[in-house]
Point group: C2
Chain length 451, copies 2
């Protein structure tokens, strides 16, 4: 078997892996950094897939940040696409890598290893449910290209989306924009089941306004695929559909790591310390395959998001190259656009907070701009806090122009502020951008009476 010696090996090259590899070279220009990616794409914005499907982003090439060639040239990283790492030996610090073109195996010895294998779309165990002609997952750029090609070639009319979380809801908008009739099947009581119910209801109103059919408390029993269409048997009747998207969630791509003795924890994600190291010396992990500390609770959580992947990647890369930095953790801050509605969250939902704290909750409805300025939108803001102390625990927002308002609360939670303190922040005001009392301040003013 061919052998090779590298300074830093990186497995997986989407968000965390490319961030890590680039950061490692920036930190140590002498280091031989090699990135192995089994796919033919690296460095793309997976979060952009719904907008490519929608047609807002014209080509899949637009969501690629770097081609392998560009990345190699501009970042100085030796990128090997279509190279699959088949096993890791963390004790002897080596990898077995298979070149997919010709199946040749190489034994790669490393000084430091960064595992950034990402996450995979979860396919539930349901009869007849597997990726195929009319059944899609929407995780990788390859998935997206296959779906877009099918839409272009077949102009399907009806779509069913299994799973009403972030991706499912963004895809509902994307497929509607393609002129399709969309039905969402969600097992739980509401779409966006990770949100508090008031937020889910706001999202459901927006979906219904846009003619998306919502089937909640509904399970898929089995799927039959014919030449012409799909037959979906659910606990709420049978649906015919041209296509089915499976968006019930993602799971860390951690089998390779587990098989080599690297410790995984919550949801089988690779367990990392603050410096992104694993239980093996010189082996790091980051991104959608790894855990992260929650900034409020201190607990290890699995909340795979692009922002975290980029931040963890940089730190893993620098540390592998000889620095010492710590990742400060996540608040699960996220935002999504569902038609004209924005939904965002940071910290804990009221439901989550109630399990750990004596939690209070305030929900206000306000406006995004001065009442007399055109384009004013309704904004719902929910603050979650600890009763007694008033310490901020979380926020959720639904409505218009909230995407950066959530970051104000994320900043306040990071600082350990109370709702009282939040209510005193000197925020910007001009009629095109907010009422004189910003909705966040309105919510804080109401919340402090409830503390």
């Amino acid at each position: 078997m061919k052998e090779e010696k590298v300074d830093i090996a990186v497995i997986g090259g989407v968000a965390a892996g490319t961030s890590a590899a680039a950061a490692a070279v920036r930190e140590n220009k002498e280091a031989k950094v090699v990135l192995f990616e089994k796919d033919r794409f690296i460095s793309y914005g997976g979060c952009g897939i719904p907008y490519y499907i929608e047609g807002l982003t014209k080509s899949y090439k637009d969501i690629i940040v770097f081609t392998p060639e560009d990345f190699k040239r501009s970042k100085g990283v030796d990128v090997r696409i279509l190279h699959e790492v088949t096993s890791i030996d963390p004790k002897n610090k080596s990898l077995k890598v298979k070149r997919l073109e010709d199946s040749e195996e190489i034994n790669v010895f490393f000084d430091k290893l960064i595992i950034s294998t990402g996450a995979k779309a979860v396919m539930p165990q349901i009869d007849g449910l597997k990726e195929g002609e009319r059944i899609f997952k929407v995780r990788t750029l390859q998935d997206a290209i296959r779906l877009k090609t099918f839409l272009n070639d077949n102009a399907p009319k009806d779509a069913v989306i299994l799973g009403g979380g972030y991706i499912g809801l963004e895809m509902a908008e994307a497929l509607s924009a393609n002129g399709m009739n969309v039905t969402i099947i969600e097992m739980m009581d509401h779409v966006m089941p990770t949100a508090d119910v008031q937020m889910s209801e706001a999202i459901e109103r927006e979906l219904l306004k846009n003619n998306v059919r919502i089937m909640t408390k509904t399970k898929l029993n089995f799927v039959e695929e014919t030449e012409e269409s799909l037959r979906l048997s659910t606990t709420n009747g049978v649906l015919e559909s041209d296509i089915l998207l499976v968006t019930i969630g993602v799971a860390p791509e951690s089998e390779l790591a587990k098989a080599s003795g690297i410790t995984t924890s919550i949801k089988d994600a690779i367990d990392v310390r603050a410096d992104m190291s694993t239980n093996f010396k010189d082996v790091y992990s980051c991104g959608d395959c790894a855990t992260a500390p929650h900034r409020l609770t201190g607990e290890s959580v699995y909340i795979p998001l692009g922002t975290t992947a980029n931040k963890q990647g940089r730190i893993a890369g620098r540390n592998a190259a000889g620095k010492y930095e710590e990742f400060k953790g996540v608040l699960g801050t996220a935002v999504t656009k569902i038609f004209a509605l924005e939904y965002a969250r940071t910290g804990l939902t009221y439901r989550e907070a109630s399990e750990k704290f004596k939690a209070g909750m305030t929900l206000v409805t306000s406006k995004s701009k001065a009442h007399y300025y055109p384009g004013n939108r309704e904004v719902q803001i929910m603050l979650v806090y600890e009763k007694g102390s008033g310490k901020l625990l979380g926020a959720q927002m639904a409505g218009g122009e909230i995407s950066k308002r959530i970051d104000v609360v994320a900043s306040a939670i990071t600082a350990g502020m109370t709702v009282e303190e939040l209510s005193t922040i000197d925020m910007a005001y001009a009629p095109p951008f907010s009422p004189v009392w910003d909705p966040v301040l309105v919510a804080a003013n109401v919340a402090k009476k409830d503390v």
Copy 2:
């Protein structure tokens, strides 16, 4: 002379006065709260005037929050419009009030007094420069109605704006939207002279793109008004114009207070303590006539803004009604829209910070959305911080979609964060709303290397 006894008298009824009066009644429903306003309007959004002139807000009535009748009915405050307070006797706790309709004088005895007389437009001492047929200030709703009526009746073609600060720039947009040719005369080197020069330059580019003529380092020598037009002699030549707007700034309306022995300080604003009290027991002041503590420097400053007026008003009202609350201070956070450009600031500019601290500054150019999402705008972010400690001192932003990003930094400054800490905040990301590294994080990441 007629005499009257009230529990809480409030002088002035725009933002701070109405906030104070309403808060006082909420705090103590039994209190007889009387608000004296010499104008016929109360409770309007002065910041909305440019949008009413622009035509985005159809009627001046739209920017009124409460008519005197509505305010009386809904808030339980006895509102007396067209009542001018002519003197204050803070020792004997009485006011002389003139009813403008019939010039009758009333002697009003109060338990508590709240002075919220606001600010007035400054008219510089220049030959021929006084409000008149073709010369306007843009401070009160009456000013706005007079200007709008003139525009409607005379369809003037050319406008000169004296003073390139917030109001002058917003009016440049408003008058351009009315089809006018606009020239801004600014005495200083750049428009928005309170901003750092890089920000002023971004604003100037936007003005020029929109065909606004800018004359900086230019003084107005004298004005001649004819039936047909105005002749403006400046240090850079003579201009003909149909109208002239004077927007060089505002000054506190504090003569009445000063004449009664109430202490004023910076820029003649009424000196207030954290509870909004003045040097006289039972006499409070708030809003555009009063000082405020700067949250970073602790110094007393005069930064008259609607948000502060509302916050201070509430606190003054509650305290006058028997509570004890403190106003936490200002960061001078402000935002404005100049055509399609947003400019915002919080904390100190680099120039201001350099006078008090060993200050550092980082300026980055980034994007408001993911690079592949339509409608993506350029964003310039300047962070100002203390060298060594890295403590955040201020931020300025110019570009698209920055109006709430400034509040994230305002929150971070309020919490005493460093640029390093700012760089670790878990901010929301989705392609329609930000790049995966929000511009604020990009700026913080660059800034921390300069600390």
